[in-house]
């Protein structure tokens, strides 16, 4: 028998039992929609993780912290080891880190709590200053505009990219060269503070302790996107001067040296070296976090999600296939008479099986195609919604649920394969019917 005849017969039988076929196709379509949307979401999530969290060279970086607290990242909760002998990050640490093979550069960073708020000239807004002293010896700052510090003690600032939107500035050039004014904490005693002399009165001291100081600097650059985008970077040595307090008329104290650096950014030679270098850092007693490790965890997490969602979809598909088995078994017993006649006019067993399998495949293709199209549409809708939400939240827009073509085609194929598998048993039953028995009584 010709392929076109199989298809024609299958088409006739399916359209003849319109409602029954429609319900079967619907079940298949629904499970395919579930498959496509769930897969699209977990695929999109995976993609977003790798594209958004891994800008260019960040993968080769490790952030070294003084303790081990942040070293374990897990989504399922993990035991965090308290570290008694917190290692202080100082210049010895920098030297130690630079000694690890595979380390290209280590640049310390220090939080400057003394600087609390800031204003930019000509802009009527005050922001909380998340200032960090940075040694830019190894170009540890990614710039999107402007340039880096001219000297280690220069009163210069590199502004986080995220501020631009809030400042209402379209062009980055408009901010470079602008004066920035920091408001310190009350009773500030560091660089630029006017500390009352020995002969000052008590009330002068009280006043001093109740007033902040103002420090000015110039904006020289804007950071790129990434972990620095919401920070305010200043030269490390100036940060040290800010953190060095005049505690008595004759004595100064370097609090930065006392507290140690808040972190050290380590550039490794390549992303491949990160793991090995990370282990070496941990062995030295420091905490360490790398984008690579975060991505790895996130990817693990999304793999698990993908497996869970995938099995949900497969179970749905399986249920739909059982529907096909049921429908087709019903059809077989209803069509015994027709099977008998086809056999009488010379149809072989495999022709009978073929007629039923083609019917199953037909429903599979139909249900799969409808489902894939609807799933594609649904995931596009989800994507649009998410993008809109992200936009209103000022977050970078990512494709969170895009159904790629291969996924759509793949699910049509999968639905068809499931349908054919579901058709196997009914088809076998149909082929096994004894024509003589069927035709005995007609």
């Amino acid at each position: 028998m010709r392929v076109s005849d199989y298809i024609q017969i299958a088409h006739r039988e399916i359209t003849r039992q319109r409602i029954r076929s429609a319900l079967t196709v619907l079940a298949l379509a629904i499970s395919t929609v579930i498959l496509v949307t769930l897969a699209a979401i977990s695929l999109g999530g995976r993609q977003a993780i790798t594209t958004k969290l891994a800008p260019d060279d960040a993968l080769a970086n490790i952030i070294v912290t003084s303790n081990k607290m942040s070293a374990n990242i897990s989504f399922f909760g993990s035991v965090q080891e308290a570290n008694d002998k917190t290692a202080k990050l100082d210049d010895n640490s920098v030297a130690e880190l630079l000694n690890i093979p595979g380390v290209k550069n280590a640049s310390p960073r220090a939080g400057v709590w003394e600087l609390q708020k800031f204003n930019i000239e000509g802009i009527d807004k005050t922001f909380v200053a998340q200032a960090q002293g940075v040694s830019d010896s190894g170009q540890s700052i990614t710039l999107s505009a402007g340039k880096s510090f001219s000297a280690p003690t220069a009163r210069e600032v590199i502004l986080g990219q995220a501020y631009l939107k809030d400042l209402g500035l379209a062009k980055t050039e408009n901010i470079i060269g602008k004066k920035i004014t920091f408001t310190t904490q009350n009773g500030y005693r560091g660089d630029g503070a006017v500390v009352p002399g020995v002969r000052a009165t008590q009330s002068q001291y009280d006043d001093f302790n109740k007033t902040p100081a103002k420090l000015t600097a110039t904006v020289v650059g804007i950071t790129g996107a990434g972990s620095d985008e919401n920070k305010l970077l200043i030269p490390l040595e100036w940060a040290r001067q800010v953190r060095t307090a005049q505690i008595s008329p004759t004595e100064k104290k370097d609090y930065l040296a006392e507290d140690g650096y808040s972190s050290i950014l380590v550039n490794t030679v390549s992303p491949a070296a990160v793991k090995q270098v990370g282990t070496a850092i941990s062995q030295l007693g420091y905490g360490q976090v790398s984008t690579g490790a975060i991505i790895e965890k996130l990817t693990q997490f999304s793999t698990i999600m993908w497996l869970i969602l995938g099995s949900v979809a497969l179970v749905a598909l399986l249920a739909a296939s059982l529907g096909i088995v049921n429908t087709m078994l019903m059809t077989v017993s209803e069509q015994r008479y027709i099977i008998g006649i086809w056999r009488a006019v010379g149809a072989r067993r495999r022709v009978i099986a073929g007629i039923f399998l083609v019917q199953a495949a037909f429903m599979g293709i139909l249900g799969g195609t409808i489902g894939a199209a609807a799933g594609w549409y649904a995931s596009a809708m989800v994507n649009e919604r998410i993008a809109a939400i992200l936009q209103t939240q000022n977050l970078p827009v990512v494709d969170l649920a895009a159904a790629p073509l291969w996924l759509c085609v793949g699910s049509v194929i999968l639905a068809t394969v499931f349908a054919i598998l579901a058709g196997l048993y009914p088809a076998w039953r149909a082929a096994r019917q004894d024509p003589s028995k069927i035709l005995h009584s007609i």
Binding site: R343, A344, V345, R348, H440
Partner: protein, 228 residues
């Protein structure tokens, strides 16, 4: 000229629970080309079972069926081809697909044979014309009258130019007038196209129009008088 069909020592047994029913027992039969053979006998005597054995719809448990001098092997492929090419079946209740048109019903054996659409349409139309139903070609089988349906069934049996037509009570569902028409049609086919017609009937007057009558009783065959 040798016989078209030869049965030798053919038996068929059915098992119902513990009981064994020997529906056909040690039947020897040979049928000549162009012959009209009537099988008569009481209900349950094994006529239909025998007809199915001759037509390759079922396989004998013992003995053999030969067609055109060759013993029929029992492989599905061979038996199916035999039914498709050498045999045409006609049933008491016509055995048409009700939702198919007359033309499509007649085309069924040609579809199975893998013939191209245009060619099988031509052939099916020609055969429908031969049974006087060219006007009803497009009509669905379920809308045809009983006599018309049986003529469509005969056209379907004829369309592959088989050697043998096996008709199990072909007039059983028809009134006497329509039954007579069907009988005449079968006779004409036998005479003009030299087709062997084997028909099963209860009706002795109908049987008398055959060249030869065989009687069945309890699965066994007894040769009877020649009708003509």
């Amino acid at each position: 000229m040798g016989p078209v069909i030869v049965l030798s020592k053919v038996s068929k047994t059915f098992r119902v629970g513990r009981e064994r029913i020997r529906a056909v027992a040690d039947v020897d039969l040979s049928v000549q080309k162009g012959e009209i053979l009537a099988i008569v006998g009481p209900s349950g005597s094994g006529k239909t079972t025998l007809a199915h054995l001759i037509g390759g719809l079922s396989r004998p448990d013992e003995g053999s069926v030969s067609a055109g001098g060759q013993m029929l092997r029992t492989r599905d492929k061979i038996l199916s081809k035999y039914r498709n090419q050498k045999i045409g079946f006609v049933f008491q209740t016509f055995g048409l697909l009700p939702h198919y048109s007359a033309l499509e019903n007649v085309s069924m054996p040609l579809v199975v044979a893998g013939m191209r659409r245009r060619r099988r349409r031509e052939l099916a139309l020609k055969t429908l014309a031969a049974v006087g139903l060219e006007k009803q070609a497009k009509q669905r089988a379920e809308t045809l009258s009983g006599g018309q349906r049986q003529r469509v069934a005969i056209a379907r049996a004829l369309v592959t130019s088989p050697q043998v037509i096996i008709a199990d009570e072909p007039t059983g569902s028809l009134d006497s007038e329509n039954g007579e028409q069907i009988m005449q049609l079968l006779e004409r086919l036998s005479r003009i196209q030299d087709i062997t017609v084997i028909f099963v009937t209860h009706d002795l007057t109908l049987a008398k129009r055959a060249d030869r009558i065989v009687h069945m009783r309890d699965g066994q065959l007894t040769e009877a008088d020649h009708a003509r």
